[in-house]
């Protein structure tokens, strides 16, 4: 356990609030999926909350987030309104993108949440491009790109890391290693034991492996690599070890995972662990419960707002293919 005195109580409570918000939102999203209100697919971050929360807390307000289809957590960590996310999952008019993107593509430019990308690996070079803007215009912003262990075996990962290193771009690549791709253990298809960190030296980077279920460790790591990027020292690659509590997507029961492995990781639940740490540190249970009640209420409210929102306006089908607002390809 870490007791960095520079991390104040306010920050710790904020970290817990974000993790608890992600946890509660994701559970509700799962229920809504089972009841047929969330359609299509969704990929939850239950068990992986500390990574989104830790980075979200450390990032400057104008730093950019790039996430995968498992992106609800990152949108929530950037404080995108829950009703808009819930509405997007349900395909409603109040949705973040009015239902045109869906669960896998949550984007809120206003919150510097620059997208959730559903082709594995595609957003690593895109995040590098955002970092190029920061470098070129001298804005001091950093692009943070979250991806799974599976992405470390696709070409775009390697192309992006090399380019970012060669150009010393202010970008942080964060591998959320949850030990599985969809249903295959990452170890079964990867030449090295640490899918991200063991590749770092190929791009002249320090191998960094951290406990992704410890929000304090994530926060501290995030602060360090963001600093490095901001001071012009170039990119970093962080491998954060974690585990998803549920299946890959939708109603996948995750039966391909051994029971003892699941049990081991459930005992390292990042949310419960952090709650205990706050209590051990002397925080009153009442304060924590207050935070939790407020989140519970907000999630219920967001769910209700989304549920009562109408379907998107049919006109939207033909809007915003092009910047003139329309879809016209001819005169």
């Amino acid at each position: 356990m870490r007791t960095d005195p520079s991390v104040g109580l306010e920050t710790r409570l904020a970290l817990y609030e974000t993790m608890y918000r992600i946890r509660t939102f994701e559970k509700r999203a799962y229920d809504l999926f089972l009841s047929g209100l969330v359609k299509g697919t969704s990929h939850l971050s239950l068990g992986q909350e500390a990574i989104a929360a830790g980075f979200g807390e450390a990032m400057r307000e104008d730093d950019w987030s790039f996430a995968t289809y498992r992106g609800h957590a990152h949108a929530l960590a950037r404080r995108v309104p829950m009703a808009a996310i819930m509405g997007e999952l349900m395909g409603r008019a109040c949705g973040l993108m009015a239902g045109k993107g869906g669960s896998m593509h949550l984007t809120s430019v206003e919150h510097h949440m620059m997208g959730s990308y559903a082709i594995v690996g595609a957003h690593l070079p895109i995040a590098a491009g955002a970092a190029l803007t920061a470098q070129q215009l001298g804005t001091g912003q950093v692009a943070v790109c979250f991806f799974g262990d599976g992405a470390t075996n696709i070409g775009a990962f390697h192309e992006a890391l090399n380019l970012a290193a060669v150009w010393r771009l202010p970008v942080v690549f964060v591998c959320e290693n949850n030990l599985y791709m969809e249903y295959t253990p990452i170890a079964a298809v990867t030449a090295v034991p640490r899918p991200a960190a063991d590749r770092a030296s190929a791009y002249g980077l320090e191998p960094i492996v951290v406990d992704g279920n410890d929000a304090d460790v994530v926060l501290e790591t995030a602060a360090r690599v963001l600093d490095r990027a901001r001071s012009g020292e170039g990119p970093s690659l962080v491998e954060a070890l974690t585990y998803r509590h549920g299946g890959h997507s939708r109603a996948d029961p995750g039966k391909y995972r051994p029971d003892d492995e699941v049990a081991t990781w459930l005992a390292r639940d990042p949310v419960l662990r952090y709650r205990e740490r706050l209590l051990d540190g002397g925080l009153e249970a009442g304060v924590i419960e207050g935070v939790e009640r407020a989140v519970d209420d907000a999630v219920a409210e967001a769910t209700e707002a989304a549920r009562s929102s109408p379907p998107p306006d049919p006109d939207l089908l033909y809007r915003d293919v092009f910047a003139d607002g329309g879809a016209s390809w001819r005169n």
Partner: protein, 324 residues
């Protein structure tokens, strides 16, 4: 007026836009110190420096991904894909990411970027460095697609593409790089989505693109000697598609021919044919006929490649047999 080659016009267009707008930058393989694989970017590194003219690794996904990320955060990148056949190795970034993001985000993300690429055959490079792939791009909602045929159009349409708020795929026809033309002095800016009537005639309408334009014009000259007067339209842009210029000409001539460098299936002419059949049916005095490269990968041998690409005599012959 200055005499410029098509390749010099590329550098002229990029220079014009980079001087005007400091957020424009050029990235690609060998575009800087080497001046481009086709010498189309000579002098730009010296003029604008290594921060704005950036040599990249051989990493097409990184090039296109970086262009997208830069465009969505405030720059106006021009990215180069050396040979258009190489779009196949970064097609995810083009077709899934760049093309779809504005729509999926309900208009939140704007991507003002240009991807330039050497396109098409005639250079004896063989099948992996020769295909005309503009119809790949035309098939994806969200992309604009441009292919100029003259140095002036290169400058003007490149400027229009850079200034356009949408992603534009800009196809430079490799077989035209050495061709010359007069380019006006001063700023040259054209408009996307406008076809050009390059020759007027009352008997037939021949629509062509890029390297097929001079071939269509040569065919029309040959036909004129026999008393057949053809209009030749340079389409210049596939998206947006200037249907009205084509339709107006078909109304006057009653005959439509397309000349396409792409392999047969799903070439741009198929879409144009369908639109004209649908909307101009009663103006037509005969079937619409497409002249294309046959549906084969392009062979390397000069004798075979020449046989594959639509030639002026094949175009003239096709028109002659239909309306002669």
């Amino acid at each position: 007026m200055a005499q410029l080659t098509y390749r010099e016009a590329v550098a002229r267009g990029i220079t014009q836009e980079m001087e005007r707008d400091p957020t424009v930058l050029l990235i690609g393989e060998d575009v800087g110190a080497a001046g481009g694989a086709f010498k189309a970017t000579v002098g730009l590194l010296e003029r604008f420096g290594p921060a704005r003219v950036r040599d990249t690794p051989i990493a097409e996904q990184a090039i296109i991904g970086a262009a997208m990320g830069a465009a969505m955060t405030g720059l106006r990148p021009i990215a180069e894909i050396m040979f258009s056949d190489f779009f196949a190795v970064c097609w995810d970034l083009v077709a899934n990411q760049i093309a779809k993001t504005r729509y999926m985000t309900n208009g939140q993300v704007t991507l003002p970027l240009v991807i330039r690429s050497g396109n098409g055959g005639g250079s004896r490079f063989g099948a992996q460095h020769s295909q005309s792939v503009e119809s790949w791009a035309m098939a994806i909602p969200g992309l604009k697609v441009v292919a100029p045929s003259t140095p002036t159009d290169v400058v003007g349409l490149l400027a229009a593409a850079v200034r356009d708020p949408d992603p534009v795929l800009f196809f430079e026809q490799k077989s035209l790089y050495a061709t010359k033309g007069e380019v006006p002095d001063g700023e040259v800016v054209d408009e996307l989505g406008t076809a050009k009537v390059v020759r007027q005639g009352s008997d037939a309408t021949i629509v062509a693109l890029a390297a097929m334009v001079p071939r269509a014009v040569a065919a029309a000259s040959e036909l004129a000697g026999e008393g057949i007067e053809a209009t030749v339209i340079d389409l210049r842009s596939l998206v947006p598609l200037d249907v009205s210029t084509v339709a107006a000409s078909v109304a006057a001539t009653g005959h439509l021919f397309t000349v396409e460098e792409n392999p047969r299936l799903c070439g741009w002419g198929a879409e144009l044919t369908s639109v004209v059949a649908d909307e101009c049916f009663y103006d037509l005095d005969g079937p619409i006929v497409r002249v294309t490269t046959p549906h084969v990968p392009l062979p390397a041998a000069d004798a075979l490649e020449d046989l594959a690409l639509p030639s002026p005599s094949l175009i003239a012959d096709t028109v002659r047999r239909r309306i002669g």
